[in-house]
Symmetry: C2
Amino acid sequence: MDSREEKTVTISTVAKEAGVSMATVSRVVNGNPNVKPATRKKVLEVIDRLDYRPNAVAQGLASKKTTTVGVIIPDVTNVYFSSLARGIDDVATMYKYNIILANSDGNHQKEIQVLNTLLAKQVDGIIFMGHNLTDELRAQFKRAKTPIVLAGSVDQKDEVESVHINYVEAVESAVTNLINHGNKRIAFISGPLSDPINGEYRLKGYKNVLAKNGIDYDPNLVFETDYRYRSGEVLWPALASAHATAAFVADDELAAGVLNGARDAGAKIPEEFEVITSNNSKLTEIVRPQLSSITQPLYDIGAVSMRFLTKMMNKEESTQKTIELPYGFIKRGSSK
Amino acid sequence: MDSREEKTVTISTVAKEAGVSMATVSRVVNGNPNVKPATRKKVLEVIDRLDYRPNAVAQGLASKKTTTVGVIIPDVTNVYFSSLARGIDDVATMYKYNIILANSDGNHQKEIQVLNTLLAKQVDGIIFMGHNLTDELRAQFKRAKTPIVLAGSVDQKDEVESVHINYVEAVESAVTNLINHGNKRIAFISGPLSDPINGEYRLKGYKNVLAKNGIDYDPNLVFETDYRYRSGEVLWPALASAHATAAFVADDELAAGVLNGARDAGAKIPEEFEVITSNNSKLTEIVRPQLSSITQPLYDIGAVSMRFLTKMMNKEESTQKTIELPYGFIKRGSSK
DNA sequence: ACCTATAATGCAAGCGTTTCAAGAAAAAAA
DNA sequence: TTTTTTTCTTGAAACGCTTGCATTATAGGT
């Protein structure tokens, strides 16, 4: 067996070797200016020679900061969320934070459960992406003194900070566009209406525009489903029998399904049926015809959320609880 | 100002309140059986009443285990990788681990840099997804005594554990399929050949089959590009002038681009041009015609990698350094 | 009742940092 | 020089938990 015990080199090893106290080593490690240049140099030399790496866990215990933030995400596999996540990670890195990523499947139980393990791990902050913010969750958030921000999601009760676009207006613009092309029967296709973004905001935008244009709201034109491609693909018969001539769809995968389903059934797009989707992900360009879409700055929503969180973690006062990012619209082949 | 100081409740608070020692509380928290049922009950009652949550950082420092593993990923936004990541996270959760997720963009510098911060954070293990395992990286891995496994990637020098499919054989089967349809000029389209999976394994499979069927290898049929959709879309002119009648593509997004580029230019698929892709992601079904593809159990590769890692972290001896998962093939409209 | 094997518990030394009160050194002022 | 300031350093107490070892109950045998 090997005789060298391979001792881990700690701050005290370095201190002894450099002939200074641990406190001093700590200062040079943390860039504290109160160290005489000569001393600093000597310590750095030793650190280098011994290849010393500060133990972040010990630092965390002593300083009560872990430079780690928790990210609760429904499903990384979904491009919408992974785009946000990417934005989050990039600015986190920029501010020297790391991300603990946990999938929740949008499942309430898992969300609570994950939230608790994150808190146990003493994360400095949390970014939550979810469809539906329940009261229990809101309560847990409040109890934890940890800063939290919702990314790409909104708190109806406006108690927790969040960043997102104005869903009502975005949908209004899309549907208005459709109406201007002469459509009278426009389908509203989304995931669960229990998700406030769908059932509350988007639907409101849809109804607003209908009303403004003197078109009666017809519940038969509202299609509630899940976010899966396949769910959209099989929707055509229902759309046809509802005499829809256009559709606003709340998710790109879903929209791709709707589009393909319609085309596979022989419908001419956009002549006979127009569709506008919501997230402008890569998918919109891969499908034929390409999908017109509301554009959301997904990456930015993530990035801004994280930036916002850093401010909260630094206890910088902020006037606003909500940050609204701009949305846009891009016309492609699926609409006139 | 609020007079209640809101003291954090620690293990010692609980111990006092329950009239036992910290050691005992620690035991019940960790499910150590050496506690009299009555005592356990009493302690649990106090824990519940005081709403005590163990501080994972302190646990980590004391036990030298963080129940956290690092995951180095090129880009979460890419479905190929996020699928792996999802598999990883699911089994991690199953084994009570959390994931620190860090994007590297496949950039060597970032990889090294991220690796180091993960080690500083004392992760119990690391899962690495990368295109190219450099010597420096391999050296760093070795230096760190932390268990590491490569997910969906292979170490040419076979020094670090990994799980993946047999890329050579998978490509052989795909190209054989194309040859059986009478194709003599089959393009090989992939990302950077510097990635061993492309330049080494896949290309080898391609050449093998050509040789076996008496077809000369023509470098003009090898197209090296990046993994972007757009890069595939613009490839058609080149393919046409090389007189290719079919293509094997190493990435789905790329393949979707090739397919759309060809169709947009009027090529009939699969009659005039066949294409087979590699990852069987959702994309393959969204595009028209749908893409025939090699199938890889992406989620499973992630899951198995993590499972493998847990074994290593438990110091269970394992005979194999490499786990090879089965691949498959699914025929869709893009090939005959 | 007495001894022993075993089950429960308690003690206290870490784990590797940070941080604060306080002392030592160096620089500036007198 | 001597005295004040100001700049650097140090010692040692946290931070909240785990764990090996010592100690004390508890139960089983005889």
